[in-house]
């Protein structure tokens, strides 16, 4: 049963990811990405990591994709509705191949012993996040804060006057 669901989710994940690359329409690409990300949340569910799955849906489904869609909507993508690649695609291919080159050996060399899927409690996640991993957590929030302030400054500098 779990195998069947996992295969289904894997097909959805890879299919969505392929859809992002293959489709000629930017909005379709964003929605295909949504399918892929939510299928990943399903993989977390199969692993009994409910908290992680829900956070995945909340952050990636609810927030990231919406930001992407807003970005598509507010830039002048309607002038180029059928353009989804440009001259930089060899660079992108190189970058993703390099990433694969890092990922694949790390899986092959560092073979992790499979353990029984356990129901991870979110209190445990919270405690380790705010004690053991407090510094990385704070750094990540700082990065986000900087990005936010930067966005506000960029938005303000152009038409801050007329908007009041």
């Amino acid at each position: 049963m779990a195998w069947f669901i996992f295969i289904l989710l894997a097909v959805l994940t890879i299919g969505g990811a392929l859809g992002v690359v293959v489709t000629r329409n930017v909005v379709h690409a964003a929605l295909a990405l949504l399918v892929s990300l939510i299928a990943v949340a399903g993989v977390y569910l199969v692993l009994f990591a409910e908290f992680l799955a829900l956070v995945q849906v909340l952050i990636y489904g609810g927030a990231i994709i919406i930001v992407l869609l807003f970005a598509i909507m507010l830039t002048r993508s309607s002038d180029y509705p059928r353009v989804t690649d440009n001259k930089q695609w060899p660079l992108a291919a190189l970058a993703s191949l390099a990433f694969l080159g890092v990922l694949a050996p790390s899986f092959i060399i560092n073979s992790v012993e499979g353990t029984e899927a356990q129901n991870a409690s979110f209190t445990g996640i919270g405690e380790s996040l705010f004690t053991t991993w407090a510094v990385p957590f704070e750094i990540a929030s700082l990065v986000l804060l900087v990005a936010l302030i930067g966005a506000i400054i960029i938005a303000r500098s152009d038409d801050g006057e007329e908007q009041g």
């Binding site: 929605l31 829900l54 849906v57 489904g61 609810g62 869609l69």
Partner: protein
């Protein structure tokens, strides 16, 4: 065949699932009865929400008719109660139009994507003692995650319709959703802090004093935020009929329109159900072991009535007022509530980390004072901030100036 659901299975605690599974398991093979039980539960949920939405559409139209001093639908059946049926038949028989420039696939997915979160939310809400379909230990987070999909559905509706009005409505709707999501989540944190759990069943059993009294500020923020997220009248900028005709569902007709409407009316009921669970102590009440569902339905009815009341009473806000209300009024209130609650829980809890009824009453007293003070202070502040510098609107004209 005799199928037994082991205690290790996550659906073991779901009573309804187990009963159906055991019953069907006598005749069918185990994997099939597993699927049958799942499908039966889905059928109950979907139909429950849809029937509720139909009923509520009639009740609300009657109520708003009364509030507006007119009659409302009264032709079909006693007091017009068959009106939803007539509407349904009309919408089913209407031609299902798709605009020429529309993105056909996405256009067709939208009604489902809108209705699905509404139905899915009900999966974790406990109707009575031990009758939640799935008692997740991250139930509150589940509700937030599932409802966050609605904003994408709205965007898809606006984009796929190939209509400027739909796109305007969708961008407004999404902006409202993501703005109000922040104070709503912050207000829920207060509830989770007091209950000490994110499971909805635990939150209900923690409410020896209803959290409406313990967390008045959170309830206020959650109620206002939800009613904005539901696109109901004081906040229905996304479908302002005087400006945008109908917003993001302007191009929808026939069955698809029926589904979108069902999602909107159903969303009122499911949000009421969530609020009942989080703030009005859910199914508990006298004789709640047997009459839990009745208490639950009655409390949903009261909240849905208040939703209709607000919709019938308040005039529509402007878009800047709407945003100011979220960011300058609700968000500070929810942050204050979160800090106050955190402090209270920190000082009042005993060594085991739990709060007893006396503690909850003390918190209720402090929080009510805080709520009144905060709403007064921020209400005064926002009134000055919101007043536009540009051409005067009705709100800013005093009788002397109204020339």
């Amino acid at each position: 065949m005799n199928c037994v659901l082991g205690p290790g299975n996550i659906l073991h605690d779901t009573l309804l699932f187990r009963v159906i599974y055991d019953g069907v398991g006598h005749v069918l093979p185990c994997w099939l009865s597993y699927a049958v039980a799942g499908l039966a539960i889905m059928l109950i949920l979907v139909n429950g929400v849809l029937l509720g939405a139909g009923l509520f559409s009639w009740v609300e139209r009657r109520l708003i008719g009364r509030f507006h001093n007119r009659i409302g639908p009264n032709r079909w059946g006693p007091f017009g109660s068959l009106q939803p049926l007539a509407d349904l038949v009309k919408l089913l028989l209407k031609e299902d139009l798709t605009p020429k420039g529309a993105d056909r696939i996405i256009f067709a997915i939208v009604p489902v994507a809108m209705l699905a979160p509404v139905v899915l939310v009900m999966a974790v809400v406990p109707f009575a003692k031990d009758t939640a379909l799935a008692n997740l230990n991250v139930g509150v987070l589940y509700i937030l995650a599932v409802t966050s999909i609605t904003s994408i559905a709205i965007f898809m509706a606006g984009w796929a319709s190939d209509n400027r009005y739909a796109m305007f409505g969708a961008s407004r709707g999404v902006a409202v959703l993501i703005s109000y999501e922040v104070p709503v989540v912050m207000s829920l944190l207060g509830v989770v802090l007091v209950a000490g759990s994110m499971s909805l069943a635990d939150i209900v059993s923690a409410q020896t004093v209803p959290f409406l009294l313990v967390q008045p500020l959170a309830f206020f923020v959650f109620f206002a935020g939800t009613s904005a997220e539901l696109n109901r009248t004081p906040f229905d900028l996304a479908e302002a009929e005087s400006e945008l005709i109908a917003g993001y569902h302007i191009e929808y007709s026939g069955v698809k329109f029926a589904l979108i409407q069902a999602a909107e009316f159903g969303a009122v009921l499911t949000s009421s159900a969530v609020m009942v669970t989080l703030f009005l102590s859910g199914w508990s009440g006298p004789f709640s072991n047997y009459l839990g569902w009745a208490w639950f339905l009655m409390k949903i009815g009261v909240l849905a009535f208040i939703f209709s009341w607000i919709r019938a009473t308040f005039p529509r806000l402007r878009i800047d007022q709407l945003m100011a209300f979220a960011w300058k009024f609700l968000l500070p209130l929810s942050i204050i509530n979160l800090f106050a609650t955190a402090l209270e829980v920190y000082f009042l809890r005993d060594s085991a980390g739990t709060l007893d009824t006396t503690d909850l009453w003390i918190m209720a007293g402090i929080n009510f004072g805080l709520a009144f003070a905060c709403i007064l202070v921020f209400g005064t502040l926002i009134r000055e901030k919101v007043r536009p510098a540009g051409p005067a609107t009705g709100a800013t004209l005093s009788p002397g100036e109204a020339d």
